[in-house]
């Protein structure tokens, strides 16, 4: 078990290096010298040259072969790697704030929106999925599926605009914009659930149905277990494994928050910060959020695998 654990955790390292390399290639190598973006549209060539020198953008990308070997790692990628390993995410070019502070401040509002949204969505979706699976191949199931697909076919942007305009603006049922007390969260959460539940129902229905056609269900039915009991104590308990896997994998996405909900309702979370960072070319913010999002995703994946290995000894042998 220990050997498996170590092997699994070590496998995170090359993946994370790859993620960093990819973001680096994207933003530095393909994107060109970031100094142009930092300096703004009407910068003098001297200013750009100065930023380039100060921030080390004139250094080679991966290894520095000048003055070999003492300067070998004096290149952009190794320096970036070292900076990130020390937990230094740089600073925002617009507000000059440290990115780590921005992240720390943004995470709480983000979680305030996404946690209730995520749990409500999960409960509602699993309940509806069970309902659809219980009445499979009847009109209940079919209309639930069509309704779910219909819900998925409207852009989440439209849900937000319509609800914000009518429910909050015209009818004044909810605050339109801001983050002052829990009441400000009701509408964003509600919209998030409505916009997301269709896709989730469809997904969980497939999972539950997969279980429904297993042999143990036939056995249970043959020995006279009632259909309700089969659904809740046999099928649901087995379906919980893929459902939980999906939940764990979705958890890291909670931290990026909901980009759209946050920016429409003025919630100062990570999603809104990212949305504002893009037009400003605030590279370090985009960079840090991508990096953290990926690291959380990879860790969550690894934890799921380890949990599986704890539950099922056969997996460890692979």
């Amino acid at each position: 078990m220990t050997a498996y654990l170590i092997r699994r955790l070590l496998s995170v390292v090359p993946i994370m290096l790859g993620v960093l390399m990819l973001t680096f290639l994207l933003f530095r190598v393909i994107g060109g010298n970031p100094a142009y973006r930092i300096a703004g549209k009407n910068a003098t060539p001297e200013k750009i040259a100065q930023i380039t020198r100060d921030r080390g953008y004139d250094k080679p990308y991966f290894v520095n072969l000048q003055d070999f070997p003492s300067q070998l790692l004096d290149a952009q990628f190794p320096r970036l790697l070292g900076r990130l390993l020390r937990g230094d995410f740089g600073e925002s070019i617009t507000t000059k704030e440290k990115v780590s502070d921005i992240l720390r401040k943004g995470i709480w509002p983000s979680l305030c929106v996404t946690l209730p949204l995520f749990s409500l969505n999960l409960l509602l979706a699993v309940a509806l999925a069970l309902l659809a699976a219980y009445y499979r191949n009847t009109w209940v199931d079919r209309s639930l599926v069509v309704l779910a697909v219909m819900g998925m076919s409207v852009s989440s942007l439209v849900y937000i605009m319509v609800a914000q305009y009518w429910l909050a603006g015209e009818w004044g049922l909810f605050p339109v914009w801001g983050f002052e007390n829990p009441y400000y969260l009701v509408l964003p959460v509600l919209i998030g659930v409505i916009a997301g539940v269709g896709g989730s129902v469809r997904f969980y229905r497939t999972i539950v149905l997969d279980e429904m056609y297993q042999d143990y269900v036939r056995t249970a039915r043959a020995k006279g277990v009632s259909p309700q009991r089969i659904l809740f104590s046999h099928v649901l308990r087995n379906a919980l494994i893929p459902i939980l896997t999906n939940v764990i994998i979705a958890l890291p996405f909670l931290y990026t928050g909901s980009l759209l909900l946050e920016s429409f309702f003025g919630i100062p979370g990570l999603g809104r910060m990212l949305v504002m960072a893009i037009p400003n070319g605030d590279e370090d913010v985009i960079y840090a959020e991508t990096f953290l999002g990926s690291i959380l995703f990879v860790l969550a994946n690894t934890l799921t695998d380890i949990a599986y290995a704890v539950a099922d000894p056969r997996i460890r042998l692979k």
């Binding site: 090359p14 993946i15 790859g18 990819l22 076919s153 070319g281 990926s294």
Partner: protein, 317 residues
Amino acid sequence: MNKTDIKPETLWAIAWRQLRRNRLAMVCLGILAVYVLVWFYAEGVFWSARIADTTPAYKIARYEIRNEPPSWGHWLGTNYAGKDNLLLVAQGTRIAFEIGLLTSIIVIPIGFILGAFAGYFGRKTDSVITYVFSVVGSIPDILLIIGIAYVVHGVVERSVAMQTLTRYIDSGLLSVCVAMGFTGWVGLCRLIRGEYLKHRDRQYVLAARALGVSPLGIMFRHIAPNVFHIVIINFSLRFPGLILTEVVLSFLGVGIANEPSWGAIINDAKQRLWLGNWWELAGTTAAMFFLVLALNLFGDALRDALDPKLRTSQPAA
């Protein structure tokens, strides 16, 4: 009857027969056909104006009729610049299909070829390719899409070679498609790799190998036709997601700005809604809704019809 007289029914024929029995799928196919007609019409409008070097009707602003509600003259009303919404929505249909096509031009070759090599050769090749798609798959999709779209926008602005290209393809469209293409291949690659793993030890592959067919010949002449339905299912289920993502990208400012994509129209409608112009949003949403709905439902039906594994596991309960 002589056995050789029976012509075996192809997978496609069986699938088509099953699809035809599915009334919902046929309705969706009809809806899709209408959209394809609108797409062709919009391409015609766009290119004829391009060739004649005139401003197409949907781009002409007429401020004297701005923000008019739906009427017989303008079925979906007019927008803030007096442009006819119906014409704009039709152009949006064109862009939606162009996004689907352009993205697939990136996704299908990368996903299919890498998946085929990984699955067929295994060992080192497989490890390398699996590593690459694990890395790409580890970055939350929306973040990577935004990142690529943002960078491509910048590159297009600066590079001269790109500007030649963007004379034919809208620069926003290009960055949106590149972004969604370079993130979207991972899913297809996983599926294709799995299929090739299954097929590489089948009898017909062994027979081909014994006859001395080259690995490339086996991969692309012998196995490919047997797994190509996966590509089609994958496309039909991915397409609606592309349309919805484009809307988000336009909102974030890394999408299409110079052409009336649905995302661009919805983004415009955002401000007009507070001025009482609801028809701009309603018309676009309706157009998007029926296309995405039809694609989703048809994609599901197509998967049920083409994937024999699902076909057998669905007992007539």
